[in-house]
Symmetry: C2
Subunit: 379 residues, 2 copies
């Protein structure tokens, strides 16, 4: 089965097999060596000189960690909400007791500087946004400008980069992101179960002043264990650490720039091809993600049936919609090991499944469009 | 390497290999089927008809989940503290804003009904204790009575069973435990990275009235996703779910009663043998754990060096002490796949490493004592 979900995604054989390494203690030199290499390579992918931690939890756990360390009850947070994961960030901050001001954004779009400027005041502790909304396939192209805007108002910037980091441009330090969170199972091409989080100097100042940090997600404790022993405060998911180590080594072998270009090229191929099929992409061109491809299901086609046929008949797993666009779109992951092979097989499955359901489209034209973008011979 | 730590512990080949199963979506029928079987078998191990959830986090994460769902800021919690993990429970409750009353217990002992009776008042929301203190090798043999006592005062009972569930007697419903937490990497013989938590009807009533539940660890959300779709609210660590599934199947194949008896038999062998070596067990007989064997390092022997020699020369990994008994004891895990083989090899490594360090002891006598308890031929 080709797993073309927007996470979890296909995991290279090398990464899967790394999990077979023997169980070890997490308080010994073998673990410390593994941990050191993971952190060093993670910093490369985050493009940061700041601190990075690996947490045993999902990406949402990483966001909880970020907001529960930065925010005290009563703090003000501005959260841009343009999909399910923006909603989750807002809810996480509210659960923390923060006063949340939402920047409402049309689903399928991303927050713009003007929209954010209107809401950001100087009393805001944190400006939170999803860089790449997994539920809509929309990316905040203006992230760098949004970060500058937040800094101008003295707010920390918290970025949910779960479905994008390692697959698109995201220089954490250069753009001034204070806390950036990703998950293992997306563009890093590792199995699910780990979150990675970066913390800037400014973020540390705020965290240090927070007297009510949660216990499991306490970043100060994580920093102490890192600095004193290069260990994690609590038992880490060792097989997943082995897998993450291998996945990060593969990223270094490829090079981040080449990896990002590969994701962009495959995304262009997907977008050109689905348009050549006569389908409509959910976000407008200026908001389109390079890692999550959200395509509207043509009217008259049952999205559930479409995905079933893609899976059962053609062996390709794609995701349905989430939240209020649950029945409107399908979502394709363009992540991790994505290459021409996965693009071609997924488009073939999509086009043929649509044909099976009586939707006429020219699969050949779609594949030609894809091959053009992929730089393959004309076919 | 024989991993005789009190977690993570040795993982059977079947369980390791289960992680090689292909990555799948966590919103599809394949995951639901896996999840259903895991929950059914977990309920068997917990001996509960109540709810059980699998969380992607360590055992400490499971305790955070328990206390952050049950306690509101200002609630009163009584926590028995007899070691590092009792301290963690108290700190987790304090971080939550609860008013914590500690029952101080001598390290190496466990809370007794008299000690608890003295502190428990009718305004206590939760009585929290560690059933098996991993840091001291002491078990609360009176747990059933302690649960009754808490019930008499209207307090919920929260039990940290991280290093014991699946390896010793713990009938959750029969003893009236409201929330019981364990980790995957101890007596369940699975790799680390998952926590399991049971929730009673009484616990649900309290959780439902808590307006400030955390987001990632929200048990109400976990219950909704379980009841509506047999899914987890957030992306689960799929390879570890595969491993846990296999580990639980192995427990059913063996039978819980036989498994518990096997742990008890191996523990008896350890205790008899180390005493035959002239070593002192850290807890007195009435508090000794069947899953964590804590032995005092003889005076004149460097505990760090002792563990190094056991590992480097004899291939057996055991743990040092924690907290204030860091340099006083070594700790041996008697967990999961523990059998005569592991007991004999560990004792051989311990006795010979002590000999290497100039400590005289009769390894032969120790092994004979162990063989007697294990029911092996005299040797």
């Amino acid at each position: 089965m080709l797993v073309m979900l927007p996470g979890p995604t296909n995991v290279p054989e090398r990464v899967v097999r790394a999990m077979l390494k023997p169980v070890m203690g997490h308080r010994g030199p073998e673990f410390r060596e593994l941990h050191e290499r993971i952190i060093e390579n993670a910093k490369y992918v985050f493009q940061t000189e700041g601190d990075v931690f690996v947490l045993t939890c999902s990406g949402t756990g990483g966001i909880s960690c970020a907001l529960e360390n930065l925010l005290k009850p009563g703090d003000k947070a501005v959260v841009a909400v343009s999909g399910v994961f923006g909603e989750r960030m807002a809810e996480t901050a509210r659960r923390r007791g923060a006063e949340v001001v939402e920047v409402p954004v049309e689903w399928g779009e991303a927050p713009t500087p003007d929209e954010v400027e209107e809401v950001l005041k100087d009393d805001v502790k944190a400006f939170c946004l999803v860089y790449n909304e997994t539920s809509t396939g929309a990316k905040a192209r203006d992230l760098k400008v949004l970060c500058e805007l937040a800094k101008d108002h003295g707010a920390l910037v918290v970025v949910d980069a779960v479905s994008i980091l390692g697959g698109d441009e995201l220089p954490v330090d250069e753009w001034g992101i204070d806390v950036c969170v990703t998950g293992s199972q997306k563009c890093l091409a590792c199995p699910p179960g780990l979150a990675l989080i970066s913390v800037s100097e400014d973020a540390w100042k705020t965290i240090e002043e927070n007297p009510s940090r949660p216990f499991y997600f306490d970043l100060i404790r994580a920093r102490e264990f890192w600095e004193e022993r290069h260990e994690t405060p609590f038992t880490p998911a060792i097989p997943l650490f082995y897998a993450l180590d291998e996945a990060l080594i593969m990223i270094r072998e490829e090079g981040l720039e080449a990896r990002i270009e590969r994701h962009a090229r495959c995304a262009r191929a997907f977008y050109s091809a689905v348009e050549a099929m006569g389908l409509e992409v959910f976000p407008r061109p200026e908001f389109r993600s390079n890692t999550v491809i959200a395509v509207k299901v043509p009217s008259g086609v049952d999205p559930r049936r479409l995905r079933e046929i893609m899976k059962e008949e053609y062996g390709v797993l794609v995701a349905g919609g989430m939240g209020k666009i649950r029945n409107l779109v399908i979502r394709i992951g363009c992540m991790g090991i994505i290459s021409a092979r996965e693009v071609i097989l997924t488009l073939t499955a999509l086009g043929n499944a649509l044909n099976n359901l009586g939707h006429e489209n020219d699969v050949g034209a779609a594949l030609r469009a894809a091959r053009r973008e992929l730089g393959l011979a004309r076919g």
